[in-house]
Symmetry: C2
């Protein structure tokens, strides 16, 4: 069975995994540990635990348990002292406190949810994502970086503090993968935070796995204005030190005009500027479902989103060619 | 297989169940819904859920899952906004909110914990325990009643508000039991609250099951001062309307003098005043373990406690005679 490893943060991994779960592949996901917004941020600050939010979403994506258990994991208290916390975040944090290990906590919740695959934190050190802007301002935490509109004016550095070593299991997964998928998501808040961990860029350069990059659908205002597919690739490659990508998925589907107009303030639709050679997969991976705007850990998700099934189908075509 | 049903609240059920669990009997526990202290009280007030604390303890007592899952259920957050909450209470409350049913929540946690037996709330209505003292003072809530030292001066009434109907499953269990065990515990806060539910006293009077009463070990200052075994029986029987007990377990074991002295302020040791006829089982059911004082939902437990194994052995002797 082919081994597919996805890497990312936020909801991007969820989208990729929930599509791939139906296929006969060995799945692992490497999750960024930079999240510090909402419920996750409060639990980090108050309990000193590793951020559970993104891991929770991956566990739910890979779960084969009842719809009830999956709903429970995402259930968010809406009143009282627990207000804003998702149950899954509390579950992971309580287990981390009980076992003394975040990885053990993830393993146990994985058992309860009967997950198909492995969920692996990119590092097991508690870190904070920081970004020093060219204007001298220091953005502290993923939440601040996520909401900044000054990043497009330039930044001097982005780093995790303290500089963490990679989880050896994450390195193993990368080295033993057949295909590594970069999930879509906030480039500075979900993708690059994985590449700031000691050992990850080297593993990505050295592994024999094929690498696939899923380009975002929409640019982010004040961060990636008018970025085209090639800009995303270049920005990410800076942190890997090499052009490693064998495949790049760029959406060719057209979102309804009203929707594009509605999100104009947030950012423009990402266009393709890559020469359509054999590595570029220019195809419709857009969701036609007009879902309700979901509120995650204090973030409002975009309505222009990838279709997990379409994305998985395209990825699996490449897996089957390996 | 014989069917044993225990009834009570607080830690009493836990003690009885954790001993009986090792035997080959069909176990059910009927749990009082009057708890409103500590974490349980906050969840009741803030979320409008049924009180999870006592149910959680019963689920843990009946659990066949790993020590880790049992520790997790009792794990109590000690800092931040979750401070004071036990994970198990949050688990039950989140499931009640997700499913819309406390009983469904109990069933699901039961599956996760692989419980042996059934845990049944005595009522599924959200109620408050109240007590009108003879001096005119109204005690509102189990917590207030638990800490009152004026009860011994007399009370006019104790009731649940609103007056709740019994859970039909609780009635079924009582009617189909071979033996019903009244677990030890606070007489006004754990035992009698079950008898204030419409339908429960009638079922207890009518069922063909044998009934066994486990007399408390220590009196409670200001509530049951110098009560002897017979006083407990009489007080409980008032609320059933009939002397229903076929067996009464009274401890004959002697607690170390230092311990008795240390708890003199809390209350004296309960003495036997019952004629030692065939229904009275006067035997050593005292724990020799000098455990750490445990902090439950804001209550400090007594160190003079029943030994679950000794208690279960005595109960099983009666079960085997049925």
């Amino acid at each position: 069975m082919k081994k597919v490893v996805t890497i990312g943060g936020g909801t991007g991994n969820f989208v990729v995994l929930s599509g791939l779960k139906s296929y006969d592949v060995e799945l692992s996901v490497i999750v960024s540990m930079a999240d510090d917004g909402g419920s996750t941020g409060i639990l980090r600050d108050e309990l000193g635990v590793l951020p559970p939010g993104d891991v929770r979403q991956c566990l739910v994506a890979l779960s084969d348990s009842s719809r009830l258990m999956r709903s429970l994991m995402n259930y968010r208290f809406d009143t009282g002292s627990l207000c804003g916390h998702s149950f899954g975040n509390i579950f992971l944090s309580a287990l981390e406190k009980t076992t003394g290990s975040f990885e053990k906590a993830v393993e146990e919740v994985g058992k309860v949810l009967s997950i198909k695959g492995k969920v692996i934190p990119v590092t097991t050190h508690l870190v904070k994502l920081k970004m020093l802007l060219r204007n001298g301002k220091l953005l502290e935490g993923e939440k601040d970086i996520h909401s900044s509109t000054d990043i497009c004016k330039g930044f001097d550095s982005i780093y995790l503090e303290p500089f963490p070593k990679a989880n050896p299991r994450a390195i193993d997964e990368l080295m033993n993968a057949d295909l590594i998928v970069f999930s879509p998501g906030g480039i500075y808040t979900s993708i690059i935070p994985n590449l700031l961990v000691e050992g990850i860029p080297k593993a990505l350069r050295e592994t024999k796995a094929k690498k696939l990059f899923v380009v975002n659908l929409v640019n982010k205002h004040g961060q990636t204005p008018n970025f085209k597919a090639g800009d995303y690739l270049r920005e990410v490659q800076k942190f890997i030190g090499k052009d490693i990508f064998d495949f790049v998925i760029v959406n060719s589907g057209k979102a309804p005009k009203e929707l594009v107009a509605r999100y104009a303030a947030e950012g423009s639709v990402v266009e393709n500027d890559l020469v359509k050679d054999s590595r570029v997969i220019f195809t419709d991976v857009l969701s036609n479902e007009l879902k309700e705007v979901q509120k995650g850990d204090s973030l409002v998700r975009n309505l222009i989103r990838h279709d997990p099934k379409k994305l998985a189908k395209v990825i699996m075509e490449k897996v089957n060619e390996l």
